[in-house]
């Protein structure tokens, strides 16, 4: 009897370990395992342990390599920016559509919506599913001359553009500026040494990559979110069951306040005088400009790449019109 009880007790003690399902994850963070994002993923992994998943994390400072290793089967899941995960889920990969989420409140509504069990079918595409989305901050335009404060003045300017970001390349061409192909590791140097006039990045880059050097005395940061950068976790369907995947999305949504706190501190770290405020009427003009481009990039017409998912654009349009019902797009004939 005692022996039986002891055996039962032993099994009970090791049960959490034995039942935990191991999932390896390649995690992208520009500063690796000591980065803010990686640390947030550690928090996520710990929460997920309570749901029976034991994530084994591996840091990557090169996002391309992280996704490449995921593709090669080196890991069961990957945490990377929405720009890189677009091939795995076009719907969530369109969260970062240009100008589609002008406020963090809209982003909050979107992520809460996507974390619902009802959204589960949209989170699965082919062999992959989305395990969670967390914000990484809005992308802003960094300029070396404050007088560049309208879209018209961007014509002819050189813009450091991520060479794998088709929608950004299209936008740069649309405004008749010059694409200077760059990647995450070298765009800051190009902006700081003056070989480009403009760059776009989240607030994080201002201090860490010393973008204030490129801004100098004359430049600034345009206070208008060009797009929302998010970190998304993608896993192979075989790595995790549907129920746990839903729990995972809810865990990731629970990390929204933590992620936003980090973003707020990065944005607050930028001196007020550096921000370039643009008039409300100009903003309305830009929103329409972005909207027209999104439609083109949804349909792949007029030379635009076909990169955006129609359902996501419709959802984002609904969110914008719920928070700003008087916007002209809400009554437009060609709503997204």
């Amino acid at each position: 009897m005692i022996r039986k009880s002891l055996i039962a007790l032993t099994f009970a003690a090791i049960a959490p370990l034995a039942s935990a399902q191991t999932v390896t994850m390649c995690v992208f963070d520009v500063i690796g395992a000591n980065g803010d994002l990686y640390n947030m993923v550690k928090d996520y992994a710990l929460e997920m342990k309570a749901h029976g998943v034991d994530f084994q994390l591996k840091p990557y400072t090169d996002e391309g390599v992280a996704v490449g290793d995921f593709n090669a089967g080196q890991c069961d899941a990957v945490a990377a920016t929405d720009i890189r995960i677009r091939p795995f889920n076009r719907f969530t990969g369109s969260v970062g559509a240009v100008g589609a989420i002008p406020t963090y409140d809209d982003l909050k509504t979107l992520l809460a919506t996507l974390a619902q069990p009802k959204a589960a079918s949209l989170m699965k595409e082919g062999d992959y599913q989305v395990l969670g989305i967390v914000p990484a901050g809005a992308g802003y335009l960094f300029v070396n001359d404050r007088s560049i404060d309208t879209a018209g003045e961007l014509a002819g300017k050189r813009i450091a553009t991520l060479d794998y970001q088709k929608d950004a390349i299209h936008m740069v061409n649309f405004i008749k500026a010059t694409v200077v192909p760059s990647d995450i590791t070298n765009f800051a140097g190009k902006f700081n040494n003056g070989s480009v006039d403009l760059a776009y990045a989240p607030a994080f880059a201002y201090q860490a990559l010393e973008l204030y050097k490129g801004i100098g005395d004359k430049g600034g940061i345009v206070d208008y979110p060009l797009a929302q950068l998010t970190i998304q976790i993608i896993a192979r369907n075989s790595a995790i069951d549907d129920e746990t995947a839903q729990q995972s999305r809810e865990v990731a949504w629970g990390m929204f306040p933590q992620a936003m706190k980090l973003i707020a501190s990065q944005e607050e770290g930028i001196p007020d005088s550096t921000w370039i405020r643009i008039p409300e009427e100009d903003i309305q003009g830009y929103q329409e400009m972005f909207r027209q481009n999104r439609l083109e990039m949804r349909d792949g017409v007029n030379g635009a790449p076909s990169v955006y998912d129609p359902k996501m654009l419709t959802l984002l349009s609904k969110i914008r019109c719920a928070s700003q019902p008087s916007a002209s797009e809400c009554t437009a004939g060609n709503r997204e």
Binding site: P16, K49, L209
Partner: protein, 354 residues
């Protein structure tokens, strides 16, 4: 001398004393600072720099040194209220105080890893939260130590072009160099705290530039190791003709053994963890442990070598705890596996004895 005479002399003495005190008070009435405080501050500051710092640097007990930092820093730096701030000593004391806080954070992190290994999620979450808070405090202290070290040598890390500070002796060079390293550590600590401390991240590129102001060979490759770590973090900062950062880190660690100060090993370990290179981490820990028998530690800066040793041991402990649930057993320091090497050992035939 009869009692009345004694009384008379005594009264005179008391009157003289009262007069002196009164004069002193009148003299001081227009001053905002007690000159004794000011003098004491100057004396203490000079004593700390010329005697206490070299003494502490020779210590081999990082825990005692950190206690000294926590205990003395507020007293020592309070003299900045009455005289010039004792920046260089203040930088070292705050650095030691930060080490104390980091030792506590390390224990909390190991507790988190242990609980995580055992699958005890609430316990792991609690320990991780505690570690975050302690890392935030460590980061704040380290940032203060960094700014004091820069101020001590009138160095503006943001200035361009770079203008190296005048470092009059070895102690000044090391204080400046360790100050830079502390700035880098503050960033790492802040990231591990969940960015609770809000340390400016531009310290990294600033440190990369400033590290070139100190002789690399003399300081066991530490300046180049600092630069190489930043090159890995921010590839844009790497000069076009520079060698591969991993090679630089390895050479720096080897140079550290030759110079008797193995701080570069600690940086190589941090790089290996940051960039997910368990192969490099294994070599670093093995290399550091192997050097224990051969190294001739630079006596004047023994504390730096010992502190680096604690960083390496913590790296090893983290690995052991996350993989096996317990910290590195003493006999296994240098290895990342609990397997004993029992191959090729001759054994005797017991048949005749049974």
């Amino acid at each position: 001398m009869n009692p009345s005479t004694i009384l008379l002399v005594g009264n005179k003495a008391v009157s003289c004393l009262k007069l002196s005190v009164l004069t002193a008070l009148l003299f001081l009435a227009g001053c905002s600072v007690n000159p004794i405080y000011k003098t004491t501050g100057i004396v203490l500051s000079n004593y700390s720099e010329s005697e206490a710092t070299p003494y502490v640097m020779q210590m081999s007990d990082p825990r005692m040194a950190c206690a000294l930092g926590e205990g003395l820093d507020p007293l020592m730096y309070s003299f900045s209220r009455v005289t010039d701030a004792p920046e260089s000593t203040g930088s070292l004391l705050m650095l030691l105080a930060a080490n104390c806080m980091e030792f506590r954070a390390w224990e909390a992190e190991l507790a988190y890893l242990r609980a995580d290994f055992e699958g005890q999620v609430p316990k792991a979450k609690d320990a991780r939260e505690e570690a975050k808070r302690l890392y935030a405090q460590t980061a704040k202290r380290r940032y203060i130590a960094f700014t004091r070290a820069m101020a001590a040598y009138d160095f503006d890390p943001a200035a361009e072009p770079l203008k190296c500070p005048e470092l009059e002796n070895d102690q000044a060079e090391l204080t400046f160099l360790v100050g830079l390293l502390t700035g880098m550590q503050a960033i790492v600590n802040d990231a591990n705290s969940g960015a609770l401390a809000g340390i400016p991240r531009n310290i990294a590129p600033q440190t990369e530039r400033a590290a070139s102001c100190v002789d690399n060979e003399k300081w066991g490759g530490l300046p180049e190791a600092v630069r190489a770590l930043v090159w890995l973090l921010l590839p844009d900062t790497r000069p076009a003709s520079s060698p591969d950062p991993w090679i630089v880190l390895r050479r720096s660690s080897e140079l550290g053994v030759k110079s008797g100060i193995r701080a570069s090993y600690a940086l190589e370990a941090v790089a290996a963890e940051t960039f997910g290179r368990p192969d490099v981490l294994a070599e670093v820990i093995a290399g550091f442990a192997a050097a224990e028998d051969t190294i001739d530690v630079w006596d004047d800066y023994r504390l730096v070598d010992k502190s680096a040793g604690r960083v390496i041991r913590f790296s090893s402990d983290k690995y052991w705890t996350s993989h096996y649930g317990y910290r590195t057993p003493q006999a296994f320091f240098g290895k990342l596996s609990p397997e004993r090497s029992t191959e090729n050992i001759e054994v005797m035939d017991l048949d005749g004895l049974l």
